[in-house]
């Protein structure tokens, strides 16, 4: 069992989850995070932390697609272990529908900690 990051994270990327995750199992894309299903220990700490309510337990039905996406990109994107500044317009994207089709980026997050904390 694991938790998975879903569509609501896209372009919000608040990263509060990264701060509380005891096992550092988040990986960072350009505009979304994912959870490595082999590293998550299902402790559940991140779930209520997410302001966008993007994190779900894979106990819930209908998340197969997101589980596969988390597994795939966790092996492609860099590990993120410290919260950086979220995008300045994160709040604007919070309840926007259909973000995956229109905005998902396959690009990895780049130099996340250094760049974004300077920007903050």
């Amino acid at each position: 069992m694991t938790f998975v990051v879903t569509e609501a994270c896209i372009k919000c990327k608040y990263m509060d989850c990264v701060e509380v995750c005891p096992v550092d199992c988040f990986y960072e894309g350009e505009n979304m995070l994912v959870i490595h299903p082999d590293e998550c220990i299902d402790c559940g700490v991140c779930e209520p932390e997410c302001p966008a309510e993007a994190i779900k337990s894979d106990n819930e039905s209908g998340l197969e697609r997101w589980l596969a996406l988390n597994a795939e990109y966790a092996s492609k994107w860099p590990n993120i272990t410290a919260k950086a500044a979220p995008p300045p317009d994160a709040d604007k994207w919070k309840d926007v529908p259909n973000k995956f089709a229109e905005h998902f980026s396959e690009q990895p997050g780049s130099d996340h900690n250094a760049d974004q904390s300077r920007a903050a």
Binding site: M1, T2, Y14, D16, E19, V20, P22, V23, D24, P37, D38, E39, C40, I41, D42, C43, G44, V45, P48, E49, P51, A68, A71, E72, S75, K76, T81, P86, A90, D91, K94
Partner: protein, 152 residues
Amino acid sequence: MSSDQEHSERRARIVQGIVDETGVNEEMIVNLVHTFYGKVRTDPLIGPIFERVIEDWDPHLAKMCDFWSSVMLMSGRYKGNPMIAHMRLKMVRPEHFERWLELFTETAAEVCPAAAAEAFVGRANNIARSLQLGMFYRAEKYPPPQARQDAP
């Protein structure tokens, strides 16, 4: 909503909710961890495994207190990779997890109020299940990405 202060206030509210609901606090965590591992060390089934793997108990107990504080009270004090640590232990089998959970459940009932015991045991069950998936069953559940791409 995205300022640091708002986010820490939000976290404080979540933690306060957990405390109000369960009564879990740091002192209870220390008591539970120390009492529990006291039982583990003398247990005929899992005691010998722990005695073989843990060289120095004081730092291990401190680490376990940090772990449970991070899991129950979101303190962020523990950072580690328990999945890898457990996968290295080739002698550990599912029956050892079962015994671990039995002792943990028993200890939580002894040293915590009912709501807190339930919260600790709920988390422990999920974590144990997840570690076991990784140690004993992972290969079928999450094939590596290349395998998935090759699949029809």
